[in-house]
């Protein structure tokens, strides 16, 4: 933006608005909207606070093509219990059995709800009649494993607008364009009950104070920790650039517990503009499963089953191998145990020895028509940010999926080659620790979607959102509104607005700070960790917090929201380093490597929280969820009864 242009919105920087609700939902993505809808259906007065506008905001706002692990759908051949067991086993126990059981058990219920709201979940237009992935009776369409049918193909671009309408119908108060900045606690005490939140309007600068009998944290997972580009900040990560884990930072500040924050993976997508637009480059994963991959001379690289047996027919790619009950997902992204061997799992050296030549291409031309048209036209079109930037964009340039092949870059779906220290929170990353009500250790603070530890996708967000909303509504029945602590509000207001009064010419911008944090994280908390290095990195971040944050500047409320995000990124970076310091040994499934690893001692979950200046840890058994079916039913008797009727 050019210096000196007028800000088009009225300044409300000295204004403050107070609102209250039974259930206060923070974040209006898939999880937040579903939480709000469930709580409102229970007759609760609900407020949703959203940084952008709920119609298209959040990681799933622009669309989604898969609804994973809907084990209770009418065509499923798998139980929620066996799926969760496989998901836990796949990750040697480093996964969230509670949230994923909710995903498997209630995902289908939420999908039916979304259909009633106006979302499209069936092939009602009869475009794919006769396709092997379509159930002719229900018109549901499945992906990956056509025998077991637990992952559905959905028309996800229709979902968020439908949810927005439903919230309106139910009388949910949606506060758009307000970024949540902090959580309020009883008497302002660390670790006490969560009773509300503060926020600022990203256009006018108005300060908001929200009170709730119960609060649902439904904000994003962290991002832009290691990856930043001042030139292309919008392309730094996979999810929207405004989804950077504000919730994690504000939870940490009030003493919420976090799990698996030491986990990070080598960057998979969109690192500082290195990748190509998601789903636009050649690959054979998830959305693109099971595209053929060919080499520079058009020679096809074969698929093999998990036992290495070459698959002769294209349709074999959609069925488990001999003796295998089922496989999960499409595309072997994370060395999963429950999958197949695809062209991407063969080492390049081996491919070279076999005579394949670079570059490779994704080839839909030889697929059966239904398979080709469902990948290019439905999956690429309904998946997040594919309708316009990929499907429409390519069509305008004359792309024909029956004729053209698209080049692959890097390995598998990443569409780039990344350095080991270029890391991301991806593939079941860390987040808030939860119990069977999806409540955190902070009473009254429920957690859903990407804010939870080991979160993944759209169905998980919707299922845990609905579940958290329901349990928050129950909590609201038993608890009163508390008046927020005036000191806590005053301190927060001063913190939030300070950068607006800094000197524009000498102040440090959000971009300069984000770039510096990313460099520190790459240098001191990269692929291989070491105690002294981690502690040095931590001391630099603490110095940024005490000496640099006070020098930051924002020219308007939009810039201020961006800056507050980066200040939260600074906090999240410290959580990651603290968690890394407290795990002493290598852990394969957390992709956690220490050069000073002390072999021998087994470490389960190491849950951490902040108490004043101290960091407190506790070890938690990987099986803390217990018997999932039994515990789920013990906590959801009323819901189970209700669903029977």
């Amino acid at each position: 933006m050019q210096r000196g242009l007028n800000w088009p919105y009225k300044s409300e920087i000295n204004e403050m608005e107070e609102m209250d609700a039974d259930v206060l939902v923070l974040g209006g993505g898939i999880a937040g909207c579903m939480a709000a809808i469930e709580a409102a259906k229970k007759g609760k007065k609900v407020i949703v606070v959203e940084k952008a506008a709920v119609k298209r905001s959040g990681a799933g706002g622009s669309g989604s093509d898969h609804w994973e692990m809907a084990a209770t759908n009418p065509c499923s051949n798998l139980s929620p219990e066996e799926l969760v067991e496989a998901m836990m086993d796949d990750n040697d126990g480093f996964n969230n059995a509670i949230s994923h059981y909710i995903e498997c058990r209630e995902g289908w219920d939420r999908l039916v709800d979304i259909e009633k709201m106006g979302g499209k979940i069936r092939d009602i237009d009869e475009e794919f009649v006769g396709a092997e992935f379509r159930d002719e009776k229900t018109k549901l369409m499945f992906a990956y494993d056509y025998k077991n049918r637990v992952t559905l193909r959905i028309w996800g671009t229709t979902f968020k607008p439908a949810m927005e309408k439903e919230m309106k119908r139910l009388g949910v108060v949606v506060v758009n364009h307000v970024a949540v900045t902090s959580l309020l606690t009883e008497e302002g005490r660390n670790g006490s009950r969560c009773i509300g939140a503060t926020g600022i309007n990203g256009r006018t600068g108005k300060f908001h104070v929200f009170s709730g009998k119960a609060v649902v944290m439904a904000m994003s997972r962290p991002a832009r920790i290691w990856l930043f580009s001042a030139g292309y900040p919008g392309l730094c990560e996979f999810r929207p650039m405004s989804c950077i884990g504000n919730g994690h930072a504000m939870g940490w500040r009030i003493g919420a517990e976090f799990n698996m924050m030491e986990k990070s993976v080598k960057a998979q997508f969109s690192a500082s503009g290195k990748s190509y637009p998601p789903y636009s480059a050649g690959n054979n994963h998830n959305t693109w499963y099971a595209a053929s991959i060919i080499d520079a001379e058009g020679k096809e690289i074969p698929y093999a089953d998990r036992d290495g047996k070459k698959l002769e027919n294209i349709m074999d790619r959609y069925y488990p191998s001999e003796g295998q009950k089922f496989f999960m997902m499409g595309g072997n992204i994370e060395k999963a145990k429950y999958t197949y061997e695809g062209p991407e799992t063969i080492a390049y050296g081996e491919l070279k020895n076999k005579g394949y030549k670079l570059p490779f291409y994704a080839d839909l031309t030889t697929l059966p028509d239904h398979e080709r048209n469902v990948i290019w036209g439905m999956m690429v079109a309904e998946e997040g940010k594919t309708k316009i930037p990929v499907h429409q964009y390519y069509a305008k340039q004359g792309f024909d999926s029956a004729k053209h092949v698209i080049q692959c870059y890097g390995n598998g779906w990443t569409s780039a080659s990344f350095l080991p220290q270029e890391r991301q929170l991806f593939g079941l990353p860390g987040g808030f620790m939860n119990d069977w009500k999806l409540e955190s250790n902070i009473p009254g603070l429920f957690v859903a979607g990407d804010a939870l530890f080991a979160s993944n996708c759209f169905g998980h967000a919707a299922a845990t959102g609905g579940y958290a909303g329901r349990h928050a509504a129950e909590y609201a029945d038993k608890n009163n509104l508390e008046k927020p602590c005036e000191d806590q509000i005053k301190i927060e207001k001063e913190r939030v607005f300070a950068p607006v009064y800094s000197d524009l010419d000498s102040g440090i911008t959000w971009k300069e700070l984000n770039q510096a944090i990313a460099k520190v994280m790459q240098n001191y908390c990269g692929e291989v960790k070491e105690e002294t290095l981690l502690k040095t990195g931590l001391s630099i971040l603490k110095e940024y917090e005490t000496k640099i944050v006070s020098k930051t500047v924002a020219a308007n409320p939009h810039e201020l929201v961006r800056l507050l995000e980066v200040i939260d990124i600074l906090t999240v970076s410290q959580i990651i380093i603290e968690a890394s310091i407290h795990r002493k040994n290598n852990c394969e499934k957390l992709e956690f490597i220490r050069s000073d690893s002390l072999p021998g001692e087994y470490e389960p979950f190491i849950v951490i929280k902040k108490d004043g200046d101290n960091v407190i840890t506790r070890k938690v058994d990987l099986n803390y969820a217990g018997d999932v079916k039994e515990n789920y039913e013990a906590h959801n008797g009323a819901y189970i009864k209700e669903m029977r009727h």
């Binding site: 119609k55 622009s62 316009i388 092949v405």
Partner: protein
Amino acid sequence: MSRSFTLRHVEPSKPITFDPKKCIGCNRCVNVCPIDILLPSASNGETPVVAYPDECWYCGCCVMECPAEAIILGHPLMNQVRWVEKKSLMKEGDLK
């Protein structure tokens, strides 16, 4: 030929272009953008301003929302994916 010079901020890419002939100035795109990178024009009914192009996530939600098909989403040059006709890869004998 003489040319007068100007001072300007150089952007690394131009994600969104408005067709001023088609744009009705309704600002629906401004209000739906998940990153809030657009600002309403100072004059009522005119094309919105792409205030923060570098923050664009290239999701196309503005295009989906536009009732007048007035918005074109592009990609930075570095993000133009290469695709070819399959025929061009095959040796003559391999062609079916």
